[in-house]
């Protein structure tokens, strides 16, 4: 597709009821390239193998669930001035979609884990009972006469954001046992931190909505918390070397040139000041890039241990591209 054709499609997109076949073809090729060139690890495929059916399933899920349903195709077209920019933004959108799908599918398990944490950990206590588990008011065990939370949901979400970054762990979609989105220690840090921040009792319903908002997770079926089921926990499995290779490439594909250079500089013990000077940006930008690199690796790691392995492999791959800075 030429840029002239792209501009024509872009101009007519809003009013038309059918997707221009050239645009439809372009979207399929974006998905196809990402899958067939190795840009998406097979662990992200619906049945852990990329084949034509899996590719089609992911494409349809991306197209119907994200591009059309939430209007993201319009957003991509609004932002892209050229077909090159559209392809770049399209790839990013598909990657995010695939990763988000995995996160959202694990939301239910996270709420079950929270219920178990509150019930089993002595640092938490019930202050006001209720017939349904999701309406019970929980607080820190050290509190005396705490109030029930009566602020706005925005106030609660603001408190959740104020707790900073959390390490998010993603597990394979087909893992025999599911695992929490937040590692156990991180989950406790979040719940206790939130209670301290609002200085009031919270219910599981409020915690569930806060999880949804803060971590962009799917909605939970709160009724399921009535059932006497233990949350599923991931079984320990040795990482598959091929999957690690694929995850490494997926991480590198998500980086940009500056992030690759910052990562190499950090590995070479270059100071943030020196990197800022070398890359012509502010020290704050270097710090932010380091944080984004960490988040990108976290999103692909299936355990804390794997995080270190992936980081090493990403560095090895980048070093192969040239000399150390």
């Amino acid at each position: 597709m030429t840029n002239e054709e792209f501009r024509d499609i872009r101009r007519r997109y809003r009013e038309s009821a059918e997707l221009d076949p050239r645009l439809a073809s372009e979207l399929r090729q974006i998905a196809s390239r990402l899958v067939r060139f190795g840009g998406l690890p097979s662990a992200y495929a619906p049945y852990r193998v990329w084949n034509q059916e899996a590719e089609e399933e992911v494409f349809q899920s991306w197209y119907a669930g994200r591009l059309v349903k939430t209007g993201q195709l319009q957003a991509l077209l609004d932002r892209a001035a050229t077909i090159e920019a559209f392809r770049r933004l399209g790839e990013r959108s598909l990657r995010q979609h695939v990763l988000n799908q995995r996160e959202r599918s694990q939301a239910q398990n996270l709420y079950s884990r929270t219920a178990e944490l509150l019930a089993d950990d002595d640092d938490f206590a019930v202050f006001v009972g209720a017939p349904r588990p999701q309406d019970v008011w929980w607080g820190l065990a050290t509190w005396t006469n705490p109030p029930q939370f009566s602020g706005s949901e925005d106030g609660l979400y603001a408190a959740a954001w104020s707790l900073g970054e959390f390490e998010i762990i993603r597990y394979r979609a087909d893992a025999k046992k599911l695992a929490p989105v937040l590692a156990a220690a991180e989950l406790k840090r979040f719940v206790a931190g939130l209670l301290e921040a609002v200085a009031a009792l919270l219910t599981l319903s409020l915690l569930a909505r806060t999880f949804e908002q803060r971590f962009d997770l799917g909605a939970v079926q709160l009724d399921s918390l009535d059932a006497d089921e233990s949350p599923e926990v991931a079984a320990e499995e040795a990482p598959d070397p091929l999957e690690l290779e694929q995850a490494t490439l997926a991480i590198v594909a998500e980086l940009n040139q500056r992030q690759a250079d910052v990562l190499l500089g950090t590995d070479a013990d270059e100071t943030q000041d020196a990197m800022a000077d070398r890359l012509g940006c502010a020290v704050g930008t270097i710090i932010n890039e380091q944080r984004r690199i960490g988040s990108t690796i976290d999103r692909h790691a299936e355990s804390s241990d794997q995080r270190g392995t992936l980081l090493r492999k990403v560095l090895d791959l980048l070093h192969e591209g040239g000399e150390r800075p």
């Binding site: 001035a81 392809r87 770049r88 900073g164 040139q257 690759a260 984004r292």
Partner: protein, 323 residues
């Protein structure tokens, strides 16, 4: 291409002869792209596709700018547009609030916009407002309608450092320095900064001579690297001592400004016209004219209208830059 935008797989694995020089240079110097090129396996992809349906988004839009008009805005050296809602404007410049679809990171200084307005959920980043040249407003794609007054209220509060107006659809407040949305703000600030450059550049200079000098220094270009204008002429030009209108051909001046990555605009046109007037020198009388004068034969003097000459010259430079 720049530090923060690497090519898609389509470009990364395209045949070398299909790539632009810029893209080739990027791939050759980028560790991320080099690593992917070495390790990924390009294979055939299918181009055929069945028809796909979508909902049309019908709306009537006039072309007049208004409070809350949403434009796609182009910036220098970027193949991505910025979406921005107008909050203030005149004939030369417009103050816009960037519009983003990353609503997950909305704070209390981001106005949340209904999906019906643009076809997707979005937020107006009031904290991130900036000034663009009107020439950068590429296409109007929406109107905020009843949201416009909310945008104005939030923008006014941001300018005045006032309390946040209540009952506006905004995100949760930022309560701590470690809130991850602060990092998103830094990222967005960097993404949008390039779009403010053309207006900031022109706002910060007194005249076109200063503009040329400062931009050359900013881009770290030696006089010899600027092609058509020879170094000594460039020195005179930067010092305001060169008769721009008569000594620098239109095409040469336009080329100089393009190389300096200056965006063509009305404001630039005015600066050029002012420079031509300021440095204008009457041409020396020609030999035949002097001979006629000696013989007592005088043609009626034809005074050059400097202002008209300057305006014409400036207009041609801008046209040449846009060609």
């Amino acid at each position: 291409m720049n530090w923060t935008t690497c090519p898609s797989f389509a470009e990364l694995f395209a045949a070398d002869e299909d790539l632009s020089d810029e893209l080739r240079q990027h791939i050759a110097s980028c560790r991320r792209c080099q690593a992917l090129k070495s390790h990924l396996r390009p294979t055939e992809v299918e181009a055929a596709s069945e028809p796909l349906e979508k909902e049309p988004l019908r709306r009537e839009l006039d072309n007049k700018p208004a409070l809350g008009s949403v434009y796609v805005i182009h910036g220098p050296l970027s193949d991505e547009y910025l979406l921005g809602a107008l909050v203030d404007w005149d004939e030369e410049e417009a103050v816009v609030v960037p519009v983003s679809d990353d609503v997950r990171y909305a704070t209390n200084w981001d106005l949340l916009l209904d999906e019906q307005l643009l076809g997707y959920r979005a937020m107006a980043e009031v904290w991130n407002h900036g000034t663009v040249l009107v020439e950068q407003l590429n296409e109007k794609i929406g109107e905020l309608g009843e949201w416009a007054s909310a945008l104005e209220a939030l923008y006014a509060a941001a300018l005045e450092g006032a309390e946040l107006p209540t009952a506006l659809p905004v995100g949760p407040a930022v309560l701590s320095g470690i809130d991850p949305r602060n990092a998103f703000h830094d990222q967005e600030g960097e993404r949008t900064a390039v779009f403010w450059q053309p207006a900031n550049l022109l706002a910060g200079v007194e005249n076109v001579f200063e503009l040329v000098r400062l931009q050359r220094e900013e881009l770290e270009l030696e006089p010899e690297m600027l092609g058509a204008v020879d170094p000594s002429a460039l020195e005179q030009l930067e010092g305001g001592k060169l008769d721009v209108g008569n000594a620098v051909p239109v095409a040469v001046f336009a080329d100089l400004l393009r190389r300096l990555q200056v965006t063509a605009s009305r404001r630039l046109e005015q600066l050029i016209a002012a420079a031509v007037v300021a440095t204008y020198r009457e041409p020396l009388e020609t030999r035949p004219a002097l001979a006629r004068k000696r013989r007592g034969l005088r043609k009626p003097a034809q005074a050059v209208d400097r202002d008209r000459f300057a305006a014409e010259y400036a207009r041609k430079v801008i046209e040449e830059m846009e060609a």
